[in-house]
């Protein structure tokens, strides 16, 4: 595999390097074979089951949590069951090979579990897991689940569920990288709890072969392969220096010569505000309101919405809070909107487009935001996601004014909107660039498509050029232009964005100190020079190189 740089969302800062190992998938049953030596085949099956028991007991011994240990020991009892062993032997004597005999013996109990229903039926999955483990041993493959190789490694997975990580050994796992998931996923929560550098939503990570040394940057979300020892060491040291320097810096974001770039935090609810405060955020640059709507059969009512918004506004009294109206659709379908069946959801009725069919969802939300604002002292700015035209922006601004909200803006996620930034700024009060979606739509590359991860690199000059168009329009109009995508969390990119005319950067609170430090090390003139070089670069690697 050639050297690649994958980009995801950094959810827990820190830089480490180590071999990447993925959570092994369950093995498929091999094609049946003819058994010539029944005794040897039975011994092979018994040994595989014994290895499963031994492994479960090792994990139980290591588990820090009593409940987890108990569950693992109960599973060991199942794998070591004498009736199961007898069943396997009988099937082998009847002519089956070891993997199929194990599968068949577990299937008998599986049927009984399912027939019993209720709690027991839910445990049928445990039997499948035990079977998969035994079959993996027979095939000489790693057992499914979190590896325990006995050395330090970077754990890669599609996503991590609590069951996967219950007994994860922090002495072996030095970082987490998942292909899906988000800043609020279990992976992110676990990483913060264990203090492990972590990157989520990192397309392409599962294509990296097991054992490849990777350099993981949990602040910027970069995962690089083909990194030499010296380079890895330098990156780890630089990160440690940056952390030390950054924690010493507080106060508003500014370049070394005093050019202000507001440093704001992305939050999903009032729970995240403490982290924003710890990082000395100057306000909230993106308050996502989807959390309130997820998994709901019906839209949350006016009162419930007011309460949720008020909690965040109150915690931020006197400071700026940019709240985004519901960003539903595509990767975030909501049951009450009945969005099933769109042939191409990313290009379908999502974000502000929902208001075309269900205008009352938007007006209810704007009214709730206005009421929560009136009750608190926060400087509330409201913005709409997924805007493409001036007409859409005008309609949104009118609806916001109608609700009594003085500051209304739109997100720039669609190239059409970026190209018409100057026209948009005639009707809106501010722009906020969502670089993740702007990349997806500019490069026609699905955010979840691992094979296209290089196109979604925030250092792509075409993306930076569109950011520059917005920045220039903002300067001309004297109106703020922010970036609230993950690009804002990359300390090396921050001076470039500032040089492109971006007036605020909003990111996950943990990324904030490093970005503050990066900005403070450059003059405004430096930033403009770096921005010009990055936009003029031939590709993302050259753009990075020019930013030195």
């Amino acid at each position: 595999m050639p050297d690649t740089v994958l980009t995801g969302i950094g959810v827990c800062p820190g830089v480490v390097a180590g071999p990447l190992l993925r959570i092994a998938a369950a093995p498929a049953l091999p094609a049946p074979t003819t058994v010539t030596d029944v005794v040897a085949e039975a011994a092979r099956a018994a040994a595989a089951l014994a290895e499963v028991v031994a492994e479960l007991e090792r994990r139980a011994d290591r588990a820090g949590d009593d409940t987890v240990a108990e569950v693992l020991r109960a599973e060991a009892l199942m794998a070591g069951d004498e009736e199961l062993r007898d069943g396997v032997r009988e099937l082998i004597e009847a002519g089956h090979d070891a993997p199929h005999a194990i599968d068949g013996a577990f299937a008998t109990f599986r049927e009984a579990f399912e027939a019993a229903g209720g709690y027991l039926a839910e445990r049928a999955a445990d039997l499948d897991d035990l079977r998969d483990r035994a079959v993996a041993v027979l095939l000489g493959r790693p057992m499914p689940g979190v590896p325990s190789p006995g050395h330090r490694y970077v754990l890669a997975a599609r996503d991590l569920a609590p069951a996967d990580t219950a007994d994860l050994d922090p002495n072996q796992v030095i970082a987490l990288v998942t292909e899906t998931g988000g800043p609020t996923s279990h992976t992110a929560i676990l990483a913060r709890a264990l203090g492990l550098p972590a990157v989520v939503a990192c397309p392409g990570v599962l294509a990296v072969p097991d054992g490849t040394t990777v350099l993981v940057d949990g602040a910027t979300g970069r995962v690089a392969t083909g990194v030499g020892d010296a380079e890895a060491e330098a990156a780890i040291e630089a990160s440690a220096r940056l952390t030390a320097a950054a924690s010493a810096l507080t106060g508003p974001g500014r370049t070394s010569d005093g050019y202000a770039v507001k440093l704001l935090a992305n939050v999903g609810s009032a729970k995240d505000v403490a982290a924003a405060d710890e990082a000395h955020a100057e306000g909230i640059g993106l308050f996502r309101t989807e959390l309130l709507f997820l998994d709901r059969a019906r839209e949350p009512g006016h009162g419930e919405q007011v309460a949720a918004y008020r909690d965040v506004f109150r915690a931020m009294a006197g400071r700026r809070v940019v709240i985004r109206t519901l960003d539903a659709g595509a990767d975030k379908p909501l049951p009450f909107l009945n969005q099933e069946g769109e042939p191409n959801p990313a290009l379908g009725v999502r974000g502000l487009r929902v208001a075309r069919q269900r205008p009352e969802v938007l007006t209810t939300q704007l009214a709730a935001i206005a009421e929560a604002r009136a009750e608190t002292g926060a400087d509330v700015w409201v913005m709409a996601p997924m805007v493409s035209t001036v007409a859409e922006a005008s309609a949104f601004v009118a609806a916001a004014r109608e609700a009594g909200l003085p500051r209304a803006g739109v997100m720039i996620e669609v190239p059409a909107a970026a190209l018409r930034a100057a026209d948009l700024l005639r009707v809106v009060d501010f722009l906020s660039i969502g670089t993740n979606d702007l990349s997806q739509y500019t490069f026609a590359a699905d955010r979840m498509c691992g094979a296209l991860a290089d196109l979604l690199d925030p250092w792509q000059p075409a993306l930076l050029q569109l950011v520059g168009l917005c920045g220039e329009a903002g300067r001309a109009a004297g109106k703020p232009v922010g970036v609230c995508g993950e690009a804002a969390a990359d300390p090396r990119l921050a001076p470039v964005l500032a040089g492109l005319g971006v007036t605020s950067l909003s990111m996950s609170p943990r990324a904030l100190p490093a970005v503050r430090a990066a900005l403070s090390s450059r003059t405004a003139e430096d930033c403009r020079r770096l921005a010009a070089l990055a936009v003029a670069a031939a590709g993302p690697a050259e753009a990075r190189g020019s930013a030195g």
Partner: protein, 91 residues
């Protein structure tokens, strides 16, 4: 053959933790013990999977059987274990 009929006392029934405790106790016993519910085939009490597959809930009546030296004592102690609420024990 020595037999005990006992009602499962654990709140969650005879699975998860209660099943584990019962199976481990049966495995340590000096005699082979079987367990059955209703008119189904008796299964070894030391088989975790078989005991779970009974699907016995709190209040289900189960029958323990054993033969040989110490059968009565073994059945008494296992029956007492089954009658207790082993979930409550935990808390």
């Amino acid at each position: 053959m020595p037999t005990r009929t006992v009602t499962v006392g654990s709140a969650s029934g005879l699975h998860a933790r209660p099943a584990k405790i019962f199976v481990e106790a049966a495995a340590k016993a000096p005699v082979k013990v079987t367990i059955r519910s209703g008119d189904r085939r008796p299964v070894p009490a030391r088989s975790m999977l078989s005991v779970l597959a009974l699907g016995a809930k709190q209040g289900t009546e189960v029958i323990l059987e054993a033969e040989g030296d110490g059968a009565d004592e073994t059945l008494d102690s296992l029956a007492a274990l089954l009658a207790k609420d082993l979930d409550a024990d935990h808390a």
